[in-house]
Symmetry: C2
DNA sequence: ATATGTGCAAATCCTTTGCATAGAA
DNA sequence: TTCTATGCAAAGGATTTGCACATAT
């Protein structure tokens, strides 16, 4: 399955993608998937609601939250903790890190290939990694 | 100024420390400073309120928030974004990263000396770093 | 005096929840 | 039918705010 590579995914491709993650492809879920899975992007629940309403959807705020949380739980999206204000969802679920412009809040992907960790301490024998979150915060230079 | 090294800081040391950061040492601020600056620790506003009340303080919730935010803005504390649920404040303001036990929420410091970044992409000419936040999430191995 | 800090309650913002209706298996 | 999803409004929880009173300069 290759999404986000060529042209916009077809409804059939999206439905198959959701099904592959154990998510029933309802009309609203397909709307959210179509919005987010055609390219890597970072969105908030409010943005998803606004953009779908803008293109004629009658999806509710509760369903947006339900859907984003379900997608994140099933690996269709990745939930990010960037600031304490609101949750961000990333349609790029592959391993990568983030730059954040601290003035605008804007997020940019940072490929893992551009970071190497060395000397990482060993994890205790009874523990295991569940994720590594790296956020490099930047701002426009004062001048 | 060396806090958090030997025995508990004296009120005079704490007042000087706050003053050095441009913070007027009021009674409530000294209570918060005394609680947090004697050792490196990670706390929430609710925890600060509860612990101070427990030792007889009549500090209010609003003042706890005001104080923690002021301390973070002036560099007396560092605010952490660990989960979307609540803000964490770290009395270790030196450069370091964090482990998080995803099941208990517990945070542990990870010295920067134990991590080396390589290949970090150059920052655009008109931008500058404001911080690097690294959270390595762990959980007890299923067994 | 004048500016700053504190405490209380109310307000705010994001997110979740309860429940009735609608839709799918 | 029986289970699951949706939508609305209300509830929930963390944080901020307005304002009167207290404290410091």
């Amino acid at each position: 399955m290759r999404l986000m590579n060529d042209s916009a995914p077809t409804p059939g491709m999206l439905a198959a993608h959701l099904a592959a993650h154990g998510v029933r492809p309802t009309a609203q879920r397909l709307q959210v998937a179509a919005l987010l899975l055609d390219r890597p992007q970072h969105v908030t629940a409010e943005q998803v609601l606004a953009r779908l309403r803008q293109v004629g959807s009658r999806i509710s705020k509760a369903t947006v939250y339900n859907t984003l949380n379900l997608f994140a739980a099933r690996g269709v999206l990745r939930q990010l903790v960037i600031d304490g204000d609101r949750a961000w969802f990333d349609s790029n679920v592959g391993p990568h890190y983030h730059f954040q412009d601290t003035e605008t809040g804007e997020l940019t992907d940072l490929p893992t290939s551009q970071v190497h960790f060395e000397n990482l301490p060993p994890v205790p024998a009874d523990m295991e990694y569940t994720g590594i979150d790296l956020v490099i915060r930047l701002r426009r230079r004062r001048g």
